[in-house]
Symmetry: C2
């Protein structure tokens, strides 16, 4: 609960996205967002360093992160000073979230190798951005070896290790850039690098590592004593065990340290402000949207991340296909369940860019026009059904080598019909995640959405409500990640005794709730059966599939819908 | 062989399409097309009478056909008189082909009911155009009853009776327009109506009915004594048996009669010119393209019709899934095999109209631009595969309730990639027909294509050559239906002793032959296996399908193709 003080206090959330970082100043009493500033990374292509020879390469310059912190915080604070009640000495805490897994090779002092003159321009020494896919072979190797290990290291991350994750990238660096590997005393997730840098606690042996990154991406689990064993790491590469840090990974209600005088001066804040341990953007987004036990938060953007805390009163089974189950990764002292869809907004954007006739316009205009037309269609009236796998399937099949599919086209099929079918496909993907959680005893009592699509596209939200047969709520904040980070700033600053207590005061949902419409629910229940038939057949779950009725049932549903 | 005369002789082919009819004047010695004239039907929507309340209705005014004959022939003859060597008294014969099944209700004199004042404007009394689909329920009923009949009436038409065909339409008329049904003394195919009208042999009891229409659309076969028995027809409706004509249906090398003085005067020709028995446009198109035993002719337009004569020296088995096997329907004294794809050009047109971005332009321009880009892609490089069923499947599944499908989309899939995948899908459909014929012992030794797509789109033809692993030849004539009709004019006029002899002199293929490219053939062989897996699974052939490898194999093929 909020301190019974008449003096307002404030906290800061700093959210590092793929192309920019954002600082947000928030009133700890009520979550009011009083000032913010966005800093676009200056390097490369919108902040991403690419290699024209290899489309899998995606790196970032750690110097951008540092400049980003200083510039965004300084400016947000400057703007806040114009708001009544704000004073810099009333800032009680800072939280940070970043993309991930985005590991950075550092030296013994915790300095990013990329910032040392001898590694300037050597991309292997830079931050390996989450969407760098160079290490797919190493990921497959880790998956194969971990699957055989007695401790079943993959049981908490869906059974498959990804090329986007910590050890894959480090192993790939060893094999392709041995000089960098040799020079790296440790590898630090971006989510740990920023809190370490701004608190000065940069010694890799003692710095705070967050449970969110460690648990979801580095196979850290207290069940087997932290990171995978040295023996296991040695089975991947003899030089890997030395990178096994042994500190206890912490949730974000714990401090990473206090703001150093040097940084404080640069951003115009007092030194010594507590800084929370970091986490990934989606997890803080979930917190900023009001995630709690039984409340699933869907962060809807180009892809989605589905986060739900689950209470620790009963032992949680491993849930096959979930991206991760990590103790304390979203809300401290709860299991953090993470799932997600590897493409949602990206699929709609793809359709607009590649397959939308000129009469609908381009870009955002086309989304609006297609949505307007698609919204007029009754569920099932298009006769179409799609699989939402244009970027593989993250949950529940965990298979990046799956692709999109569209069934039911006639000579009259229109672009808005396909657009709607693609929206519906992502909704079917969404309910598949919910169903999987519930099949394993984790009840989803409430769904809160956040992110651009949920705010902008009422049709999408209504379809999700109808397909999932659950009310869809929308987070009030449009910068939930930064708000979540700020909430942890408030917690480490002492404004609240727990994350949940802070959320109760600092988060809310919009008054407009999308409620399921009964007759739509009935049609989508039929379509979902067909979706699952295709899902299981093409996804390899059912190897003796009878799909002979799919097209005919789509026609029958279409006939009913057009009546 | 041509007569050893120094005086040239000429013949006339009149081809009735869906929207217009064309008269073509041809030199009998060498097939040279010396003059032609096209007449667009004036009634309705491009010649088609529609019912705003029922999209299945498609009728035509028989008066348009008559005006069409007079206008097109008169003008073609007029143009021909300007060509050296042509004289009206050197026209030795006339052939006619039409769309079908397009039955017309007539009175006892053979006059179309639509032309009688009391039926003016009553659409049921007009010509029931081939693509009228009002009688789908009757078609299903006929299929069900014929399937149980001892004579297996559907064995020559692929096992399924269509709503586009003769008896379905008549039965639907009985049930929905009983006054018209009662007034109709007989129902005459358009292909018989025109020859009857211009020769004056209009008595329904004695007029010439062609084997092409009777055999392919009315279940006529000498094996069971002509049309289905009165008992069978009575099982459909007690009033149907009276419509069972008992004349022997004839091939087009037989005369329907001679041009009447009245018509001759109107068109500027002498009376008494022999007129060949009619046939359907595609069949005459096959003849005009050079169809012979072992030579498959593909008439490629919005849909395709695949026609191949087969010798009668050995008994031909029933071939499941073929649209028809009729003695004498293409070339007299040979079996006429007909198959087809229910949408080819229509699929490409649909994609251009509905799913092509403005940057490719519209209409014909878009086809050219998409083709130019698609032609740059290596087979398999898109990672896509499609089913060509946007308008159902005519051969070999014979199922109008199938629909299109596209598999393999990523977030980078482009419009030209999809366009190429659609072209490839139609090629896979084409080779499926060839394979089916060969599985039943009918060897396809040569493939000749005709129709707009084959002339205009080299990429399509190369893909067909590579997918089918056979050279693709193109007919020299761009009006092969009218040329085929003219060939039968030459035969009934006595210029040749046989259709084959006439074809040898009067037809040819273009010098450019599309030959299979070995490395493309190898890739398409792999893709075709995937096509057939999807074909059998979605088409209901395989009810325990393992599709788990489809997407992964597409990715593997894509990887190889992009190397």
């Amino acid at each position: 609960m909020a301190k019974k003080s008449t003096t307002p206090t404030f906290c800061l959330g700093v959210d590092y996205g793929t192309n920019s970082c954002r600082a947000l100043v928030v009133n700890t009493a009520n979550g009011a967002e009083i000032a913010s500033h966005v800093y676009n990374y200056p390097s490369g292509d919108a902040g991403i360093l690419l290699d024209p020879k290899d489309p899998n390469v995606a790196r970032q310059d750690p110097a951008d992160y540092i400049k980003g912190f200083v510039t965004s915080v300084k400016n947000a604070v400057k703007k806040a000073t114009k708001v009544r009640g704000f004073k810099v000495d009333r800032v009680i805490g800072i939280g940070v979230d970043t993309t991930g897994s985005t590991p950075i090779p550092v030296d013994k002092d915790g300095t990013a190798l990329a910032m040392l003159p001898e590694f300037k321009g050597n991309l292997a020494a830079y931050a390996w951005l989450w969407k760098d896919h160079t290490s797919y072979a190493e990921a497959a190797e880790i998956t194969a070896k971990a699957a055989k290990h007695k401790d079943n290291y993959l049981s908490k991350c869906g059974g498959t290790y990804s090329s986007e994750w910590y050890w894959s990238k480090i192993l790939h660096c060893k094999r392709t850039a041995p000089k960098v590997f040799k020079a790296a005393y440790s590898w630090v997730e971006c989510a740990d690098f920023i809190p370490a840098y701004i608190t000065g606690n940069t010694n890799p042996d003692t710095m705070v590592r967050c449970i969110c990154a460690a648990g979801h991406k580095a196979m850290y689990n207290e069940q087997w004593g932290g990171l995978p064993s040295e023996t296991f790491l040695a089975s991947l590469d003899k030089d890997l065990p030395r990178l096994r840090y042994t500190t206890k990974a912490l949730p974000s209600d714990q401090k990473a340290g206090e703001l150093t005088a040097a940084i404080a001066k640069k951003v115009g804040l007092p030194a010594g402000i507590p800084v929370a341990a970091g986490a990934f953007d989606a997890h803080h987004g979930a917190v900023g949207s009001g995630a709690k036990a039984g409340t699933l938060v869907k962060i809807m953007g180009t892809s989605t991340c589905d986060c739900m805390p689950a209470p620790k009163d009963k032992k949680l089974p491993d849930i096959p296909g979930l991206c991760g189950i990590v103790d304390g990764s979203i809300i401290p002292d709860m299991y953090g369940l993470e799932a997600g869809q590897s493409a949602v907004g990206d699929i709609f954007n793809w359709f607009v860019k590649q397959l939308t006739p000129g009469s609908f316009g381009t870009g955002g205009d086309a989304h609006v026009k297609l949505t307007n037309e698609a919204a007029k269609l009754a569920p099932g009236a298009s006769g179409l059904i799609a699989l939402d796998w244009n970027n593989g399937n993250r949950t529940i099949l965990v298979d990046p080598l799956l692709t999109g599919m569209l069934v039911g086209q006639t000579l009259h099929t229109t672009a808005p019909e396909v657009y709607r079918a693609l929206v519906e496909a992502t909704a079917f993907g969404a309910v598949t995640i919910i169903n999987r959680m519930e099949e394993y005893g984790v009840k989803v009592k409430e769904v809160i959405n956040c992110g651009g699509i949920s705010e902008k596209n009422a049709m999408v939200m209504q379809i999700y409500a109808d397909v999932c047969n659950r009310p869809m709520k929308i987070s009030s904040s449009s910068q939930t990640c930064a708000l979540g980070a700020a909430i942890f700033g408030a917690v480490v600053g002492g404004a609240y005794r727990s994350t949940n207590a802070a959320q109760k005061k600092m988060t809310s949902v919009k008054p407009k709730v999308f409620k399921p419409i009964k007759k739509n629910v009935a049609v989508y229940a039929k379509l979902y059966k067909l979706y699952m038939q295709l899902h299981d057949a093409l996804g390899g779950v059912n190897k003796s599939a009878d799909l002979s009725g799919v097209m005919k049932q789509l026609i029958e549903i279409r006939k009913q819908a057009r009546k």
